[in-house]
């Protein structure tokens, strides 16, 4: 699944989803994830908005192994994982 934004230059990121989140995207391939394109300068908030993530989804965005805040910049080639809030067990 891919998506293109209007602005250029652009960046591409691969997003993998976990928990119940993949169920929201019919074409989602858990092996490959989703290739998304954003305008350069896009932030995590833009990604959340693109995916319509709400508080109820409790999605945590990790950029290359670090939990990202909504204001963090996305960058080309970033490996993005979005999983749901967990507390251990």
């Amino acid at each position: 699944m891919s998506s293109r934004s209007d602005s250029a230059p652009t960046i591409q990121i691969v997003v993998k989803l976990y928990g119940t989140l993949p169920r929201r995207f019919q074409e989602y391939d858990p092996e490959k994830g989703m290739l998304l394109e954003f305008a350069q300068g896009a932030r995590v908030a833009d990604l959340r908005s693109r995916l319509n993530l709400t508080a109820q989804d409790s999605g945590v965005v990790a950029l290359d192994g670090r939990v990202a805040a909504t204001g963090d910049l996305l960058y080309d080639g970033a490996q993005v994982r979005i999983f749901q809030m967990a507390y251990g067990g």
């Binding site: 976990y18 928990g19 119940t20 858990p30 109820q56 989804d57 409790s58 945590v60 990790a62 192994g65 670090r66 939990v67 805040a69 994982r81 999983f83 749901q84 809030m85 967990a86 507390y87 251990g88 067990g89």
Partner: protein
């Protein structure tokens, strides 16, 4: 409030009113207070002076959901410290409904003899001979006992590991399906039960004489509110029912804090094969159960029933910590092997965490290869057979490390760490180092802080303060009988308010956030004082050196919280 005190030396039974000094205590708070008052701190944990205290939480046996945690306490043969290990299933709610605040087990049975203790629907306790059950594994034993005593009973028992008095021996409790697959795993309390000569405790589930609730109507309303909050919470209402605790595999690997290959890597390359998502898919495809109810009065249903390719039961419930200890730590990415190891540990009566880590140390030392599932199964089977290697594995990672003269042994006070590497989640390292009972993730797990962005996992700043706060909160929750997972629901004002209302209504005294925290602090102080009298000092509140010297990929970080900062943990 009444408790049952038994002396194994002569199989005497006393039913007594709980002394005023213990009024308002339950669960871990009560086990800590009794052990602090009655067990000599320097005694042999496997000798007659130690006591095994089995206490439901303050709210167990009430109408409140998810309050089926039983606290089992003693001086630990594994750590030498005070210990509380808790388990789910039905026994906490059953004791609560019988109005039994605790069972205190003292002394030791005559050498070579085993007994079982039963408590009937009227709360009357009786000893029976258990010599015919000697050496029996827990699944066969539970089936046999339920056949003898009837299906309206629940069981806490030990397997061969407990009879051998091995330091990783667990006490297994039966779940709602009467399988002994719930474990008070940590700290070797199964060995304490074995040293007492007690093979099993059988408790009626038909009790109808719980302690009086001071304000039952208020309690009932607050209990409803709490349950509603749990259902609304995304974690307890959506993630756990679908994927169980295994949902955490993706989060911790994504953070690079999943210790694998005996804590030499922070991301397991095969983690997507053993994740919560993979587990749920496999179980569903084969006709097993997700959204399974493991414990009495549970509405979260985080449990599962893992079946093989033919749809035949293998184990319940396959949990995050076991997927890590028998998976990532051993380099095994095959859920069938992990599930088999989980079953074997439950059946033999072993802590899956300590046992997996003991095998990881053995593999790291070159005894077997990482990823060799057959070798792991053989090692666990050796524990049941009581071979020399089996006894080493059953005595935990320290015993294995000493045998192989291997330096990388991820334990604190003899107990293995859990599935969060202290280099990738520094606050969990603080908890491991400073907990009153050795490396114990349930004493103060910081994962929520990192995922919510409240704290940075790789930096020293703020970790001690946060760990202190969580350790106090957990100690308080462990007094109530509330499940740690359902306890997450307390994050909302409505749910925490309901909890305080219920505690107030139960005890007949005002309990607010301050009093709740005091409950936790009091428990921790008692535990800490016991340990100090046993000879422990701040110098024991340290992680093994390799955590401070060997960087953990992918972040290549070491543990950076200073000794001075660790020593501030108990400043309250």
């Amino acid at each position: 409030m009444k408790w049952i005190r038994v002396n194994m030396a002569n199989q005497s039974i006393q039913v007594e009113t709980v002394p005023d000094a213990y009024s308002g205590l339950g669960g871990r708070g009560l086990t800590a207070a009794v052990i602090h008052a009655e067990v000599p701190p320097k005694c042999d944990a496997l000798g007659p002076e130690n006591k095994l205290v089995i206490a439901p939480g303050l709210l167990s046996g009430t109408s409140l959901v998810n309050t089926s945690r039983i606290s089992i306490g003693a001086k630990s043969p594994l750590t030498g410290t005070i210990k509380e290990s808790n388990s789910g299933g039905k026994i906490a709610a059953s004791l609560g409904k019988l109005g039994i605040t605790a069972i205190v087990i003292e002394g030791q049975a005559p050498a070579g003899h085993l007994y079982l203790l039963s408590v009937d629907a009227s709360g009357n306790a009786k000893f029976g001979a258990a010599d015919p059950y000697k050496g029996m594994r827990t699944y066969a034993l539970s089936a046999k006992l339920l056949e003898s005593y009837g299906p309206k009973n629940t069981i806490a028992c030990i397997g061969p590991a407990g009879e051998y008095r091995l330091k990783s021996a667990s006490i297994q409790t039966t779940d709602v399906d009467d399988r002994p697959c719930r474990a008070a795993g940590r700290g070797g309390l199964g060995a304490v039960m074995g040293s007492k000569g007690l093979k099993a405790i059988v408790v009626s589930t038909e009790g109808s004489n719980p302690d009086v609730i001071s304000d039952p109507e208020t309690f009932k309303e607050a209990a409803k509110t709490f349950a509603q909050e749990l259902r609304k919470n995304p974690f307890t209402g959506k993630v756990l029912p679908n994927f169980g605790t295994a949902s955490t595999v993706s989060a911790v690997n994504s953070l690079g804090a999943f210790p694998c290959y005996n804590a030499t890597q922070g991301v397991f390359e095969g983690w997507e094969k053993i994740s919560g998502e993979a587990l749920a898919k496999m179980i569903k495809t084969r006709g097993g159960k997700t959204q399974h109810m493991g414990c009495a009065q549970c509405i979260v249903h985080c449990s599962n029933e893992f079946v093989d390719e033919q749809g035949k039961y293998v184990t319940s419930s396959l949990e995050y910590e076991t997927i890590w200890s028998m998976g990532g730590m051993l380099g095994i990415d095959d859920l069938d092997i992990i599930a088999r190891l989980d079953f074997l540990c439950d059946d033999i009566g072993l802590d899956t965490i300590n046992t997996g880590v003991a095998m990881a140390v053995a593999m790291d030392a070159g005894y077997k290869s990482f990823g060799d599932g057959r070798a792991a199964i053989d090692m666990v089977e050796e524990v049941a057979r009581g071979t020399e290697m089996g006894r080493l594995i059953g005595n935990g990672p320290d015993a294995v490390g000493k045998h192989f003269n291997h330096h990388r042994v991820p334990t604190v006070k003899g107990q293995s760490i859990a599935a969060y590497d202290p280099r990738g989640m520094q606050g969990n390292g603080v908890t491991y180092a400073t907990s009153t009972m050795g490396a114990d993730h349930t004493a103060g797990n910081m994962l929520g802080y990192y995922l919510s962005g409240a704290l940075k996992p790789l930096e020293a700043e703020g970790q001690v303060d946060a760990s202190r706060k969580v350790q106090i909160g957990m100690a308080a929750m462990d007094c109530t009988g509330m499940c740690i997972l359902a306890g997450v629901g307390m994050a909302t004002k409505e749910a925490s308010g309901a909890m305080f209302t219920m505690l107030s209504a139960k005890l007949g005294q005002a309990i607010g956030p301050k009093e709740y925290a005091q409950m936790g602090m009091r428990t921790l102080k008692l535990e800490r004082e016991f340990n100090q009298k046993a000879g422990f000092t701040n110098k024991d509140d340290r992680l093994p050196r390799f955590f401070c010297e060997e960087p953990l990929p992918p972040h290549n970080q070491v543990f950076v919280v200073s000794d001075e900062a660790l020593d501030q943990l108990y400043n309250f």
